[in-house]
Amino acid sequence: MTATAAQRPHESRAITYAWAVLCAITIGSWWLSPGHTTHTASPSVAITTAVVLLGFIKGRLVIRYFMAVNTAPRWLKLSTDAWLFALWAAVLAIYVH
């Protein structure tokens, strides 16, 4: 089956791309964090919203590419998306309230 022979390096590359994006976002978070500021950190809705969005994106990358949910049955795609959405939406809602 030539289709699968062609798929194999493609899937492997997708995993590596996902890894690269995850690392980039993570290292970028270094500048957002309160831990690295020398003065007293102040709360920031903008930064926290960014953290929530990035968290959602990172989570979806791990689920879809690492956990191979991209090629999994629909119920799994829906339930993992639902968990991601419910969690981060709740985090943001509680933070903002």
């Binding site: 957002l32 926290t48 990172k58 049955p73 509680i94």
Partner: protein, 203 residues
């Protein structure tokens, strides 16, 4: 058995690849997904409780958060994400019946896992000697969440070890077994990403 590219796929591999192409392939088995989804929900509960408690004393929590080392947090996250890369590649190798490569990749993933635990232990030691203990509300959550997570990592390393043992045995090696172990391992990575975001980065 050489480890050059197999020229012909077995019927199982073809079927496996077909299901992936059609989008109906469940990695591993239902039991492990039940574990993973349930674990995600339970941890979700912990995360929500954390946010609620934090909302009741945001200034105190933020001040405590500043005592966490973001550098160590970023390092640990990159280590764990890299371990997931190894494990995901191992699943692909097993699907291609390249079992020796799969074993090497799993060792890589496991090594990263052990490194993660080492760095975390160092971080805990530092924090405790600096006087941040569970008498502080934020740090109570920090130790609890990272502690339970570390338990999951240790369990994951054990599971990866079992996968390696099964892969070494020509009669017992199966891609679905690697997938089960991988599913658990990626869950551990996923949970850490949330912990990293909530404890180390958000303000």
């Amino acid at each position: 058995m050489t480890n050059t590219e197999p020229t012909a796929l077995t019927a199982e591999q073809t079927d496996h690849a077909d299901r992936r192409q059609r989008g109906t392939h469940l990695p591993g088995d239902g039991h492990m997904w039940l574990m993973v989804l349930g674990d995600l929900i339970i941890f979700g509960g912990y995360f929500i409780v954390y946010m609620v408690q934090r909302a009741m004393a945001p200034a105190a929590y933020l001040q405590a958060q500043q005592h966490l080392s973001i550098t160590i947090g970023v390092l640990n996250t990159v280590v764990l994400v890299t371990s997931s890369w190894f494990v995901a590649q191992a699943v692909r190798a097993a699907a291609d019946a390249d079992y020796e490569r799969a074993v090497r990749l799993i060792y890589g993933g496991g090594a990263c896992g052990v490194l993660f635990i080492g760095v975390k232990a160092y971080e805990w030691t530092m924090k405790i000697t600096q006087g941040y203990t569970n008498s502080n509300e934020f740090f109570m959550f920090y130790y609890m969440l990272t502690g339970v997570h570390m338990f999951h990592v240790a369990l994951g390393v054990l599971i990866l070890g079992i996968v390696v043992r099964e892969l070494r045995n020509p009669r017992r090696r199966r891609p679905s077994m690697v997938e089960q172990g991988a599913t658990y391992w990626h869950m551990v990575d996923l949970l850490w990403l949330v912990i990293f975001g909530l404890l180390y980065v958000m303000r």
